[in-house]
Symmetry: C2
Subunit: 554 residues, 2 copies
Amino acid sequence: MAKKKDRLIYLPLGGAGEIGMNMYLYGYGPKGSEKFILVDVGVTFPDMESSPGVDLIMADPAYITARADRLEAIFITHAHEDHIGALGLLYPQLQAPIYCRAFTAAIGRNKMERLGADSSAIKEVGMWPETVEAGPFTVGFAPISHSIPEASALVIDTPAGRIFHSGDFKIDPDPQVGEAFDPELMKEIGKGGIKAFVCDSTNVFNHHPGRSEASLPSAITEMMAHASGMVVATTFASNVARLKTLAQAAVDAGREVVMVGRAMNVMTQTAMSTGVLTDFPPVISIEDAKGKPRDKLMVLATGSQGERRAASAQLAVGKYQGMELKAGDTFLFSSKTIPGNEIGVGRIHNQLAEKGVVVVAEDDRYHVSGHANRPDLDRLQTLLNPELVIPMHGEYRHLREHAELAEANGRKAIIAPNGVMVDLTNEAKVAEHIDTGRTYLDGTVLIGAMDGIVRQRLQFAMRGHVVVSVMIDEDNRMSDGVWAEGHGLPEPKHGSLDEKLEAAMNRDLEKAKRGALGDDETIEKIVVQACNRVCKKAIGKKPVVTVLINRMVA
Amino acid sequence: MAKKKDRLIYLPLGGAGEIGMNMYLYGYGPKGSEKFILVDVGVTFPDMESSPGVDLIMADPAYITARADRLEAIFITHAHEDHIGALGLLYPQLQAPIYCRAFTAAIGRNKMERLGADSSAIKEVGMWPETVEAGPFTVGFAPISHSIPEASALVIDTPAGRIFHSGDFKIDPDPQVGEAFDPELMKEIGKGGIKAFVCDSTNVFNHHPGRSEASLPSAITEMMAHASGMVVATTFASNVARLKTLAQAAVDAGREVVMVGRAMNVMTQTAMSTGVLTDFPPVISIEDAKGKPRDKLMVLATGSQGERRAASAQLAVGKYQGMELKAGDTFLFSSKTIPGNEIGVGRIHNQLAEKGVVVVAEDDRYHVSGHANRPDLDRLQTLLNPELVIPMHGEYRHLREHAELAEANGRKAIIAPNGVMVDLTNEAKVAEHIDTGRTYLDGTVLIGAMDGIVRQRLQFAMRGHVVVSVMIDEDNRMSDGVWAEGHGLPEPKHGSLDEKLEAAMNRDLEKAKRGALGDDETIEKIVVQACNRVCKKAIGKKPVVTVLINRMVA
């Protein structure tokens, strides 16, 4: 039973107000000493625009690491990178048991082990009605269809009521691999009342009912049967159902199947070893494929988002393990391009066109989304009949649209982007605003997105870098001249930039008052001003300046 | 009449194999001493991925500047930046008379004057059948509908036959501002035979017939009449017809019109002063708008592509000249998001959603494209009935698709991306491959994209920069220790990166053989190796290293 002073809170740390790096916190107990569970520990991917040189991006875990002694457990809804990708990186700060289903657990263990973390922290849990006790929480994994095996919604029971955390989902009565969406199960779960429905918002702007994976096989088979040369198909490696759909379509179209790219092989192996996937068509090696007629082959390749190192990108420009595309071959993107990846995917498309390969892309006949569209969101709301809808997994516009959808149906909704703590105990209300942010994996170090390190690199990229060395003798006078080097800067129309810089800096430093060069800040100021003046005039830019001052010791 | 040894050539320098920075060369005469005309001198826009800190990108004009004495004239089809944007920047190297229609000329003169170039080089030409003689070429501006006033196709007559260079176009029988697409005129132009039809390929993947600007006013009026608060609408500033459509719709919906953002004011002023635009609805100032009820206002704002400094972006986050958006207001993107701009446009959409503003985007009822769709390309081919189709203004995939479309209709087609010179004299064939590339405006200097300057900045952005100063005394020994500073680099988990670097470098330099430090290259090698070793271990990155060696003179 709920005690009067206890409260039930929801706090998104990542994934609400953006699509990616999901991390949601639930707490229960007296204010300031709540016990917590964390749902998902995902990543998002860097880009040159905001995070050049960064390896991975995850939610700043500061709020929960400061309270790690009260973290009872971590639950992972499914094995997509934006839900599990930071598990190995952040586990050392979190140190709580990790619960997930078998397929997710296998992927998670692999991630932990590669980083030297203790993979025994991961515990496998069967599907609902099996549950896990974690402090005041009782949590079960309700199977729900998505685009990866064993995706689960979490049924989170607390003394203050039940929360349904959808994870990523779609309504698919026949997902080809794994558990179908089960409306009866949802109704059953909702029967005793749902306090809050925390729900995926990705496709809220899509007004059409979602389509089932089962709508694809016949269209893809027909397409592969009519294609003239070799067919290459790409999709997300973790979409095991799609891999099976594509492979089976190839077989039905009289083609043998080759699989290239590490991630696809890992995913299918994992799906088979965990019993999720039982009847995948036979796959032949690239070596064996070489003797076969091209129109009897179908190659599954990683890299549907244009990733430069993946098999698709390599096939687009040349050979991949001796395999090469030719004019008349067909390349199928059985995928949707994620916003931000258009240029990379377009690059592959152009390169394939140069080879004379027929490209089939962004064609609804050969791809279905893994997320619930607007009518499907409606339907799950109706099945669960929650007191409150809290949209997650969306940019702000998605959260707002989703909240308005719920309200249009006469439900209560709260928009809670990252950092907005919602008190769900009685009448739901915003309780606090918590500082949240992003943590970068930069090389092997975790840094804060706002630490200034990456900002400095962006400055170099925009403005270039002038490095100046100044030698000062024992009497605080210039010894020799300064040495200035511009890096990443154009040469002026006339003369040398470095020479212009050195001439101006020497002149200004020599003009300085007697003794003034005893002070490093004065030297730096003189050098930077000279640099800005010269560069502005000579090349129209204002570079970053670093001044190294060497003082000779008497 | 054509002489036997003369040849007619087409050489795209920019815009074929990409969308942007259009620059096409035509030549006629004996091989090696052809006379040339240049069509369009456009720009494309930089991004952080490939060109951080760059101000503008244009085609490398090297081929034609090396032959500038044989350049007879420059023709500008229309005033979009990707066709005219580099005119002022490259004119000093080209120095040939520039011909265009009045509206384009006004925009062009402005560009030239801002850069101090001689704007009297620009000559106004009336529409076809008026023509200009330029060496062996006779060129006329055939009016054709697009999304900017006075867009023109070029009718290029040569002793070897007529070329039709479409420029950017759509088939619009009622474009609201300026000349309609005139099928009779096209038929007339094609009557004597067209040797080559060089044609816009942008929308070749769109299978629907294009829609007219005239399809918008009633839908937009209705939308503005039903919107509750203030309406803000954005589109390309140069789309004068759309500005008029939006403004007239506002008036018809009982709203007064405000126009914010410099570019829109310049474009409408220019359209009025050149007589292109005669009946634009009255516009009130922001000051006058302040007293009016919000639901009686419509604001036209620049920045439909998410540009950070434009009025739309400023309105999305705060105030623009005292004007502020509120919950319940409506924001209309009367535009399409250009690939690559999705993130920037999404950012504005999210910011507006946070304010509670209703956002209407990517809705076909409120926007039509300025480019011919596939059936329209077909139609113009039929009207002109050319011997050969050469697709331009498209990425490679567009060029290929467009060539295949022509071939499917029984026509000849040649795919000629940038640098592929086509000899059109008799049987069209590829004559040569010319080195082409990109020129960057970086600050105030023009540099080659492959000069390594921007590549170095990208390296800094990805890897950070370690700057090292080494003092060597008269006896080729270390004087004091080295000074190392990491910039844009994270600190290791334990200790200071700079200290680790200095310790390792000092140790390695001191270990060097007697006299070895007399050689700068040896010092640099030792320092770089120490840096790589320390950084790899401490932070998992390999930074760029700059070593400054100061030698004391005896």
